[in-house]
């Protein structure tokens, strides 16, 4: 029975569960997207020693919501003489594919413990986990080009067309080096399955030394692979410094110049979603996924309480920062939120003495580490945007074809040699 037929033979409960998961994930991701914009603006502002959004809500926390509303209520302009079908198809394509790529990303090692089951289906922390997860991801990324290209073409306007041409060329060329750069990892794991790849980086003995990026065990440290992957991933997601498709100075806004209101928002969300998926991919492939960087030794057990040690102070800070406000925020919401956060942290900490809470704490270790790694890479994205200037187009192509591709191929060769020598048992 292959994966598809297994799906088809599932009962209703499974489907409900899956769709439930999807809905949940969508909700989370969209929210995260929204606040990612806020985060980005804040960080960039910090780097440029500005304040950034601070009007709407405390620290401008409600800015995303405002933006969302704005997108919704803006007039939806459709330029004349466009190819309607394609024009509408493009943003949908972009968003759908971007979101679809999240479906195969595993967020935690273990399914929820026994009491939490759904009509006898154990609840995994992923939507699906095919044996060729990585390939699926790449397939989706490969199709991602169409969103941009078609948008550029359908807008029936020269800047978008140029933007579309550029971006499709750029994405196609960087896809190559991206794919080549993870082959090393695949060789070491001898599998395309993401969970398999992660589980081979088990850090309980050696800590972060057993992550693909550092490990010598059964292979070769994938530092080069990681760099190639991350760079081309940035290019693949059209982010700074590779954001030529939307180079304001040259192409107005690139391929989505002609898109307004919600269709524009779709592209926007698609971009940030793909940022998330790329970051999680980095974490999974090279940085040991859900494994903590700290070896699982008796005298290091206390690190398991890192989450609470972060949550409690954060909660307290929220309370004290909140009470400054005269509005309802200061009175109710922020203190409440802070208390909640701190309380959660405290509960987790209480796991030291209370067995079930300890279970919970153990359980969230995986997701916690994975999410924090993802967060790190997201921050990296923003950081890059805040610091780096944009490349020229020819430079871009040169980096892609003449630097990244050869280097990643060399990496593949070396890794293959090492795997052949010290290969997986």
């Amino acid at each position: 029975m292959n994966s598809v037929t297994t799906f088809l033979t599932q009962d209703g409960g499974f489907w409900v569960l899956t769709f439930g998961k999807i809905a949940l994930l969508l909700f989370i991701v969209l929210t995260v997207n929204a606040y990612l914009t806020w985060f980005e603006r804040k960080v960039v502002a910090l780097m440029q020693s500005r304040v950034g959004p601070h009007r709407v809500g405390p620290h401008g926390l409600l800015q995303p919501a405002a933006d969302g509303l704005k997108f919704l209520f803006k007039e939806d302009v459709m330029p004349g003489g466009v190819d309607k079908f394609v024009y509408l198809l493009a943003p949908f394509l972009a968003l759908t594919l971007a979101l679809a790529s999240l479906a195969v990303i595993p967020f935690g090692p273990k399914p929820l413990p026994p009491p939490f089951t759904f009509f006898g289906h154990q609840i995994d922390l992923w939507i699906t986990n095919p044996d060729i997860g990585l390939l699926v991801l790449f397939a989706i990324t490969a199709l991602g080009v169409y969103g941009v290209a078609l948008a550029g073409w359908a807008s029936n306007s020269k800047y978008p067309l140029l933007g579309g041409l550029r971006s499709s060329a750029q994405m196609v060329s960087y896809e190559l080096s991206m794919t080549m750069s993870v082959v090393g990892v695949v060789l070491m794991a001898n599998s395309f399955s993401l969970t398999k790849i992660i589980s081979l980086q088990d850090s309980s003995k050696w800590g972060l030394l057993s992550w693909n990026i550092f490990t010598f065990h059964g292979g070769f440290p994938q530092v080069v692979g990681f760099l190639c992957f991350f760079i081309s991933a940035i290019a693949e997601t059209n982010r700074v410094p590779f954001d030529l498709p939307e180079a304001e100075s040259e192409l107005v806004a690139g391929f989505h110049t002609e898109y307004s209101s919600f269709k524009f928002a779709m592209f926007f969300i698609a971009e940030y979603t793909s940022m998330i998926s790329v970051s999680s991919l980095c974490a999974i492939l090279f940085f040991g996924g859900w494994y903590s960087p700290i070896p699982d030794l008796p005298w290091l057990q206390f690190t398991h309480y890192l989450p609470s040690l972060i949550l409690i102070p954060f909660g307290l800070w929220v309370i004290f920062d909140g009470v400054r406000y005269e509005t309802i925020f200061g009175k109710v919401i922020l203190p409440g939120l802070g208390t909640a956060i701190a309380g959660v942290g405290a509960l987790l900490l209480a796991g030291v003495w209370i067995a079930p809470l300890h279970e919970v704490n153990e359980y969230i270790q995986g997701p916690f580490w994975l999410l924090s790694k993802i967060f790190f890479f997201l921050f990296f994205y923003v950081w890059a945007r805040g610091t780096l200037p944009r490349f020229r187009y020819d430079q871009l192509m040169h980096i892609g074809w003449k630097l990244l591709l050869p280097v990643s191929i060399a990496n593949v060769i070396i890794t293959a040699g090492c795997v052949l020598r010290w290969g997986h048992p």
Partner: protein
């Protein structure tokens, strides 16, 4: 009617519709899109058969590279809807019926003889990527090398073709 059968018919219908619309669409971009639909549904069929790797490659290479190239070229040449000319009498009168006859004939032959094909012993089991790579790099290693060479030649050919002749 088992679930796989339903899925098969859905995908098959999608593919056929895509192929038809490839024919019926006037604008190359639309044709390209419908072809992409065909390819994706074929990939789905491969998955249904259990050929996961081939499915992935189908999407990545066909969908992600070749068709992108097509779309790219269409955009580059800014191709418009095709004009309806009929310079060739033969093509005008003979082409469509003959091609349809071909279709019918092929389909008929398949329907009649297809039942002779053995249905697989291990029902739609997974074709493991490992095995494929094994036979690719052991039995078919020479063709494999040849194809790599072919690609090299193709790249050079494309470069030669694409470069503008020097204005000297």
């Amino acid at each position: 009617m088992s679930a796989p059968l339903i899925v098969f018919f859905l995908l098959a219908a999608l593919a056929v519709v895509g192929a038809l619309s490839l024919i019926l669409q006037k604008h190359p971009i639309h044709s390209a899109l419908s072809l992409i639909v065909v390819m994706v549904s074929l990939a789905g069929l491969y998955l249904l058969m259990g050929a996961e790797f081939v499915a992935a490659v189908q999407i990545i290479v066909y969908g992600g590279a070749i068709m992108v190239l097509f779309v790219f070229v269409i955009m580059l040449l800014n191709a418009s809807a095709e004009e309806h000319t009929d310079f060739s009498k033969l093509a005008k009168f003979g082409g469509l019926p003959l091609a349809l006859a071909l279709t019918g004939l092929l389909a008929a032959a398949m329907i009649h003889n297809g039942s002779a094909v053995p249905n697989n012993v291990t029902p739609d089991a997974l074709a493991s990527t490992t095995d494929i790579s094994m036979s690719l790099f052991s039995t078919f290693v020479y063709p494999f090398e040849l194809t790599s060479f072919l690609i090299l030649v193709a790249i050079m050919g494309a470069l030669v073709l694409a470069q503008r002749e020097k204005k000297t």
